[in-house]
């Protein structure tokens, strides 16, 4: 029994029947809001182009609509709230990338989609098109509360306490143009996970929420605060062991208010909440937040059960058929068997599996997808996965609810589209930011290094032998590629105008958050892949039966890697 009972006379009217199961649907109020947001940005863009709005003023407004000015062109980051897309939305993204960009888009580590080549004057039209399918780009950049992210297996994972997506949606609405917190000292990222495996990497977020149940079975959250990567990587600490659900907004506001008042505004590199938490210490920070919360908790809206029930109703499971588990691989070709093993995952409903759409084909840019691929996957989702698609943190897509009997046909179709590279979870399922080729912040390229690694590790049998290894690569210390938490992390650095790469080992997320340790001096671009090969050879030599790379590393430490990976390379300085 939740502490807040719902108001009388409301519950019956709240049984909303969503048109597409499994996803939040805008009502006319949500729609009015995004339409008004588009109209506002159209006017701001007009004033900027007419010279009525100075560049520095326009900048903070466009950033809060996801629009950066990049190396070659503007970059527009479209929000995919907690990674969930309908086929209609993905089809629209295909249309937008063809009509307004160069026929492709880039899925990011935060479950968003970036357009690399939009024209500034057409961005209001893009936003208007997005609004027709209940999408937007609000707060995907700028010093505000960013798109909230979640486990890509939410709702189908066998290990979750509860589905995090309804809470993500409630947080999305609460955070959208929050009047008090739209001009924070720095960006602010929230992730929610329902599973101890924490596939949302919540402990490297400004706030991480872990769904929990108390002894009476009531839903609440274990609250982490002060995590983040970037220039000063820090793992979040627990600020509250159990936050009851009705208090969610008031407690989030207490944290944000302490941060908004006391976070540093004098130095952009010290402005994230992690720096404030570190400076005060978690105990003192907790005391401040608790004091703030007790003084002001009636200022925020109480999250009552009626609101929760309304949103939860949108995320009910789809109409699964009653199906037996079947053996889909028997007698099939080895390529299909490999794909089944690496690119599909068990489902909690019998007869179904979750299917990764790999955006990591060798020779391609991680996370990139063409307009045609988007439209084709949208069609596939309509036929075999209830019209729903998910974007993952690892820059792949997921068809979450595929009947096992369809798997062989799905594989054939994805293979024809170039989206069936059977490498999910292997070394070449690496994640990378766009790097120097696109980003004006980057020190070094990531795309050519990706290609180098793809070429060096092109033998699938060798990849499979290496097993589960996560490579994460960033083109600069802002760490958009999350290199600190890669089993092998690669960071691009500028060395007297040349692109060099620092390698870290032993980082991880997913239930055991650790920051990688720097292996040694950085290496020149041409030697990144060969250095990685030496690292994995050290692992192959040291691993015990069935041991993953990260487990071997944790057992033996960095020393043997350091000694042997640099053996032929000791001159590097």
């Amino acid at each position: 029994m939740a502490p807040n009972t719902q108001p009388k006379g409301i519950s019956a009217a709240l049984r909303v029947k969503p048109i597409v199961p499994g996803m939040y649907q805008y009502d006319e109020l949500d729609q009015a809001f995004v339409d008004q947001r588009v109209a506002e940005f159209r006017d701001q863009t007009r004033r900027f182009l007419a010279g009525e709005l100075p560049e520095d003023e326009f900048r903070s407004l466009r950033l809060r609509n996801g629009l950066y000015i990049q190396r070659h062109a503007p970059m527009l980051r479209i929000a995919i709230p907690y990674g969930l897309l309908s086929s209609r939305q993905l089809r629209k993204l295909g249309e937008i990338t063809r009509r307004f960009d160069r026929g492709y888009g880039h899925f990011t580590t935060r479950q968003n989609l970036q357009l690399n080549w939009p024209k500034l004057e057409t961005v209001p039209d893009i936003l208007e098109q997005l609004a027709t399918v209940q999408m937007h780009s609000i707060q995907t950049s700028g010093n505000c509360i960013r798109n909230v992210t979640a486990d890509h297996l939410a709702g189908i994972a066998q290990d979750e306490v509860d589905d995090p997506r309804p809470y993500c949606e409630l947080i999305r609405q609460w955070a959208t143009l929050h009047p008090e917190f739209t001009y924070l000292p720095r960006k602010f990222k929230i992730a929610v996970t329902g599973s101890p495996a924490d596939r949302a990497a919540s402990e490297v977020h400004d706030i991480g929420l872990h769904l929990r149940r108390d002894e009476q079975g009531n839903i609440g959250f274990q609250v982490f605060v002060g995590g983040g990567l970037g220039r000063t990587p820090i793992i979040a600490q627990v600020i509250r062991e159990f936050l009851p659900l009705p208090d969610l907004f008031s407690y989030l506001e207490a944290i944000l208010r302490v941060y908004n008042r006391h976070g540093r505004r004098d130095n952009i590199h010290k402005a994230r909440i992690k720096i404030l938490v570190k400076a005060l210490g978690i105990a003192a920070f907790r005391d401040q937040v608790e004091a703030e919360w007790h003084a002001t908790r009636d200022m925020a809206a109480v999250l009552d059960q009626a609101q929760v029930d309304r949103v939860r109703a949108f995320f009910r499971p789809p109409a699964y058929e009653l199906l037996p588990n079947i053996n889909t691989t028997a007698g099939r070709e080895p390529e299909f068997q490999a794909w089944y093993r690496y690119n599909t995952r068990p489902h909690r409903v019998a007869g179904y599996r979750a299917v990764f759409v790999s955006l990591k084909a060798h020779g391609s840019v991680p996370g990139d997808m063409t307009s045609e691929q988007m439209e084709a996957v949208a069609g596939l989702a309509d036929r075999v996965s209830f019209g729903m698609i998910r974007a993952t943190h690892n820059q792949n897509l997921l068809l979450a609810d595929v009947p096992q009997r369809e798997l062989y046909g799905v594989w054939q179709e994805l293979r024809a589209l170039g989206l069936a590279m059977p490498n999910i979870g292997t070394l070449t399922d690496l994640i990378a930011c766009p790097g120097l080729d696109f980003c004006s912040l980057a020190n070094a390229g990531t795309l050519s290094v990706t290609r180098q690694i793809q070429q060096q590790f092109d033998d699938l049998d060798y990849l499979y032998d290496l097993g589960d290894i996560e490579i994460k690569m960033s083109g600069c210390m802002n760490a958009c590629g999350h290199h600190h938490v890669g089993h092998i992390g690669i960071l691009g650095v500028d060395k007297h105008g040349e692109e060099w790469y620092q390698i870290t080992l032993g980082g991880s997320v997913n239930g055991f958050t650790a920051l990688g340790e720097v292996m040694g001096p950085s290496v020149p671009q041409a030697e990144v892949a060969s250095t990685i090969e030496r690292i994995v050879e050290v692992y192959r030599g040291l691993r015990e039966d069935g041991e993953r790379f990260i487990d071997t590393y944790r057992r033996v430490g960095i020393k043997p890697f350091k000694e042997r990976a640099y053996a032929t390379h000791s001159e590097a300085a």
Partner: protein, 183 residues
Amino acid sequence: MRRILKRRELVEDEWRYLGEAGAAAAGGVAASEGTAVAQSELLVVPFAEFRTNIARWRSYSGPLGVRLSPVDKVEDLADDVQRLALIAVEFPSAGEGRGYTQGRLLRARLKFNGELRAVGAGVKQDLLFLMLRCGFDAFELAPGQNTDEAVQALARYSVAYQPGEPAPSIQLQRFSAQAAQSP
């Protein structure tokens, strides 16, 4: 004469900021840097001055306002907030966001009911709606702002997801609409 945007109209400001020449000076009372002021005029004093000479300002007989900079703690006004007729909150630049928290705390936590005025170079038309939702009801627009556009900007959104004025939150609208429809 300074003009202030209030209730969607530009009105002449009746208030004088301490240290600026104003009605009292024109009337012949020495008012250099606030050392002498007419006890009846509408006067806004900086937070630091208010705190330093608190006894004096508590005995001021005219309508009194206080002006806060981003670092000032609104809690320190708790004992005085009910006798203040105006609180001016500075937004020195568009990126400075502490004023939103100050405004919201003044309204919701300290129950301040007087004029809450946004002042400074950051008071631009594109931010007025956020300020309005945080409880501000008067705006001293930054120089160069188009006042007609600023008036329209206050009504740019008919909906918002958070509690505030003038329209109730989307959550409340949604629930009251559904409650009205239910039998």
